[in-house]
């Protein structure tokens, strides 16, 4: 008699295969590296915060790629209302930019609390990392709305 097996059912989905899984691995990995490099510095710059900055664009991409169905609905509606692809891109860029800026704020606040100011280099880094956050947040959406399959979603 044939016996049902549950192992393939579990194992077929047990290993990370998606792009979002890879991003999660990279973010956790960077956090681990940051924790181990927290006291090291190079050319006057602490390496810990630099690693943190690297994790920002990846986290923004992960946020953008998660809940794709909801974002797709948003994009379809914006087009139906007469929007264009660059308007959608700017909308998501600003969302990613704002997310990044809010996320790095505790670091800025900590710096101000300890030294009383933020250096020009640090300000530039924060601006740069927020721009990267915006770009990485908007990139998956841009890829989606420029794809051939996008308009198929208007059909039932």
């Amino acid at each position: 008699m044939e016996k049902p097996s549950w192992a393939p059912y579990i194992l077929s989905g047990a290993f990370p295969k998606e792009l979002t899984d890879l991003l999660a691995i990279l973010i956790i990995g960077l956090a681990g590296i940051e924790a181990s490099l927290i006291r090291l510095s190079f050319a006057g710059l602490q390496l810990g915060p630099l690693i943190l900055f690297l994790s920002v664009p990846l986290t923004c991409a992960l946020a953008s790629l998660s809940n794709t169905t909801r974002k797709l609905r948003e994009e379809l509606a914006l087009f139906a209302y007469g929007g264009s692809w660059w308007q959608v891109w700017v909308r998501y860029f600003l969302r990613g930019f704002t997310c990044s800026l809010i996320a790095v704020f505790p670091l800025v606040a900590g710096e101000i609390a300890s030294t009383g100011s933020v250096s020009l280099l640090q300000t530039s880094l924060i601006a740069l990392v927020s721009i990267f956050g915006g770009v990485f947040y908007a990139a998956p959406s841009l890829r989606r709305i420029r794809s051939v399959e996008f308009v198929e979603n208007y059909k039932a």
């Binding site: 948003e74 379809l76 209302y81």
Partner: protein, 231 residues
């Protein structure tokens, strides 16, 4: 060349598949929508009604043939460019609304994108939502509503925008019979009383009869490598 709001000239679409080519509109679709026209495109499921809407709006490019808005060749132009030539609003087969915004906010956003002054937005939204019996769900989020309610929101949106040209892809899909019965008189009223031009697709002849002009689509052909050799 005479200027129509919309004109399609011998539009054909080929969809390559792994085992052949799906050919829509084998004889080419040529339709004209003039100011005040009400044109219905009638065809069965899978005959290319939604694809024709996408081609007219610039969301898909035809394999051959041309699309003209106000006499200008827009075959390779975007939806936004077409809207700048003819103020167009569209209701797709699948209801569309921004999920993070309430029903009222969605209408307000659509009206602002259509260039409606801020002072008029609230009143227009209220009126059009009331027409479809949706005034009580202004603060609801689209995802909490039924497919039929979301379809009515789409219709309320285009009613509020008051475009020059209204494009509807199977507007009675997802609606129950009472709501469907509301749609056709509404469209006739928009066309007759407001001079709004309408291009609508439908699979149901009884709805197509509401239009003043009818375009019949034919079933698609499918060319496989073997019948291509035969031909």
């Amino acid at each position: 060349m005479m200027k129509y709001l919309i004109e399609t000239v011998s539009v054909k679409m080929d969809y390559p598949h792994s085992d052949g080519v799906l050919k829509l509109y084998d004889e080419g679709v040529s339709l004209k929508v003039d100011q005040g026209d009400f044109v219905a495109v009638l065809g069965g499921s899978g005959w290319g009604k939604s694809t024709l809407v996408n081609v007219v709006l610039g969301l898909e490019k035809p394999t051959t043939g041309g699309v003209y808005f106000n006499g200008e060749d827009v075959t390779r132009s975007s939806f936004v460019k077409r809207c700048s030539l003819v103020k167009t609003a569209v209701v797709f087969q699948r209801p569309t609304a921004v999920p993070q915004l309430t029903v009222g906010q969605n209408l307000s956003l659509a009206l602002s994108m259509a260039g409606v002054p801020k002072s008029e937005r609230d009143e227009r939204s209220r009126e059009s939502l009331a027409f479809f019996g949706l005034e009580r769900i202004t603060k609801a989020y689209p995802e909490s509503l039924s497919a039929g309610q979301r379809k009515r929101i789409d219709l309320a949106r285009v009613l509020a925008v008051r475009p020059q040209l209204l494009v509807l892809d199977e507007p009675t899909g997802d609606l129950d019979s009472s709501a469907s019965n509301l749609v056709m008189p509404l469209l006739r009223g928009l066309n007759r009383d407001h001079g709004m031009s309408i291009l609508m697709t439908t699979a149901l002849p009884r709805y197509a009869s509401a239009a003043r002009q009818l375009v019949h689509l034919k079933p698609p052909g499918f060319i496989t490598p073997s019948n291509r050799i035969d031909n």
